[in-house]
Amino acid sequence: MIQNIIINGLINGSIYALLAIGFSLIFGVARIVNIAHTAFYMLAAYFIYVGFGYLGLSPYVAMPLAVLAVGLFAVICYKLFIDPIREHEAAVLIATIALAMVIQEALLIGFGGHYLGVPPLIKGYAEIVGVKVTYQHLLALAVALLALFGSWLFLMKTKPGLALRSTAQDREVANLMGINEARVAMLTMGISAMIAAIAGAIVVPLFVLDPHMWMHPLIMMLAIVVLGGLGSMKGSFVGAYIMAFAEVLVVFLVPMGSFLKGSVALSIMILVLLIRPEGLFGIAFEEER
């Protein structure tokens, strides 16, 4: 039981953290509330399913291909539908909702509402302090932590990462320093979608796929981003684990827990906001006029 809670909490937390970091990134850089973010995560999972089940690709080939494809798709969508209406915040919001609906419906038409699955990459299980943990779960955890570390390295140690962070901090000044703001926004869209796609690739062998699987992570991701403070990587990271453990604890310990898991996690978020309106690690932005 306790081991179950820990392993599930860690995996869910890592996936939420990956999603939340991508979302935070695109919000910070381009001020876009991208509702379609988890739709990209779902899309990656389906791409892998197609590559694995229909095209017979090895999963080690299918997964990177899917991640790249989703990144490209996100950039194309951004150029076509979001970039032309960037100044109109409400319109951008609806455009991303509509985009998510398009993806969901396209998958529904293509695959039907059935639950689909991909077999685990490696079979077998390890015994850790007397509990069976499948290798697949351990692999997922390792990949998720690696991906988190990778995104941290990219943002903190590379030049494009620096450009990204500076644009997030102050768009106008970044522009004055010779950073092409439009191109950075496009790049960010692609990168954030790719991070979401990595999360999708991680969950493929663990979860079942259906065209509505983007809804729950979306809500949790939004809650995490608010809890941790918009635009704060550290906040997203800590918030993700708080929310994931809250969810898992409720499911395992409370009767009727699976109904209440969302409620409890979201109530925690609201409680935190009552005490700290800018989130755990958020910076209270000066009012933008």
Binding site: A95, A98, M101, V102, I219, L222, G262, P277
Partner: protein, 346 residues
């Protein structure tokens, strides 16, 4: 007799000089007349049913506009008010045998109360934080609804509620009548002193506070007003459907409201109403393509926004009317000079 004649003449002058001079106002008048006269020509139950739901959702979308469009308090969980209104009305009707004309207003008061409860923590947040936090409330309530099936009926919801009236035509007149009345009331609110304060809070809250106005109270006021109108829509929905289920609290409904309102054009009240009257029947009409229905719908919304990012109705309005540069009064597009101050229009 002379007095009556005077009032009649005055009414005619007002009608001519206030309504007929502007194509948008004429369009609203024609729209209201068309709604009222429709059952004289057709009593097709399917058509009436669609229009009943359209009217209910139009009230809902307009109430969203009052809170999010005018006051700028982006609410992503507007389904909360709708759901609370529906559940309260259903429980009052079923458990206490209240007739619809009592249960709906009291149900709406329940929604006002939630508006207060939700508004108080949300007052400290703004912008995207607020939008994402409000999204959480209906989901929290939905979890509670599932967890206490004895009271709320769990997944199936509460069924067996009394019908709104005995015939569909009466239902139609009640809902569309309420839409016209409440729509007018909301439009008047946005035009009043309070409405101007709502505008000001959206534009610059700090400046409003600096002018000695208690913005907190006005924001809370906006939450309650919006909750009231949305609660009425929820109560009507419960009595028409004769069930109140968890679908009234869904995230999809909250998103749908935002889509309707932004598509029609926010900060106008009539924009969201028009948005619902275009999009809801469109979605029903698309049933001829059952498989790709939602896909086509989403594409229509996407493409419309690409060309009219301000929304459909403001786009049309700006093409048939222009604003006088001097006195800011609207004129028909083909006029050469302003109808009030005779300044040249370009």
């Amino acid at each position: 007799m002379g007095l009556l004649g005077f009032y009649l003449r005055k009414a005619y002058t007002l009608f001519k000089n206030q309504i007929l001079v502007l194509p948008s106002r004429t369009a609203v008048l024609l729209f209201a007349l068309a709604l009222v006269c429709l059952p004289l020509f057709t009593r097709d139950p399917y058509l009436l049913r669609i229009l009943i739901f359209t009217a209910i959702f139009a009230i809902l979308a307009a109430s969203w506009d009052l809170l999010s469009g005018f006051t700028g308090q982006m609410n992503f969980g507007h389904a909360l008010f709708f759901g609370v209104g529906a559940y309260c009305t259903a429980l009052l009707n079923l458990r206490l045998d209240f007739p619809p004309w009592i249960s709906i207003p009291i149900g709406a008061l329940g929604a006002v109360l939630t508006g207060l409860i939700v508004g108080i923590p949300c007052l400290r947040l703004r912008g995207t934080y607020l939008a994402l936090t409000t999204l959480a409330f209906p989901i929290i309530l939905m979890g509670v609804v599932f967890a206490i099936p004895d009271i709320t009926g769990g997944e199936l919801g509460i069924s067996g509620i009394q019908r709104l009236s005995h015939s569909r035509v009466t239902d139609y007149y009640i809902t569309t009548g309420l839409l016209l009345i409440l729509g007018f009331v909301m439009w008047k609110i946005t035009d009043s002193k309070t409405g101007i304060l709502f505008h000001a809070i959206r534009e610059d809250e700090v400046a409003v506070r600096a002018s000695g106005i208690n913005t907190t109270r006005y924001k809370l006021y906006a939450f309650c007003l919006s909750g009231f109108f949305a609660g009425i829509a929820g109560g009507l929905y419960a009595h028409i459907m004769r069930t109140a289920g968890p679908s009234t609290l869904e995230v999809a409904l909250s998103f749908q409201i935002v889509i309707w309102a932004v598509f029609g054009g926010i900060v106008s009240i009539y924009g969201p109403v028009a948005g619902v009257f275009i999009l809801y029947p469109l979605l029903e009409f698309l049933r001829i393509l059952p498989k790709v229905r939602m896909l086509v719908f989403a594409f229509i919304v996407l493409l419309t926004l690409l060309y009219m990012p301000e929304g459909l109705i403001p786009w049309i309005r700006d093409h048939i009317e222009k604003e006088c540069p001097r006195c800011k009064i609207r004129n028909v597009a083909f006029r050469k000079e302003c109808r009030v101050c005779t300044a040249r229009l370009d």
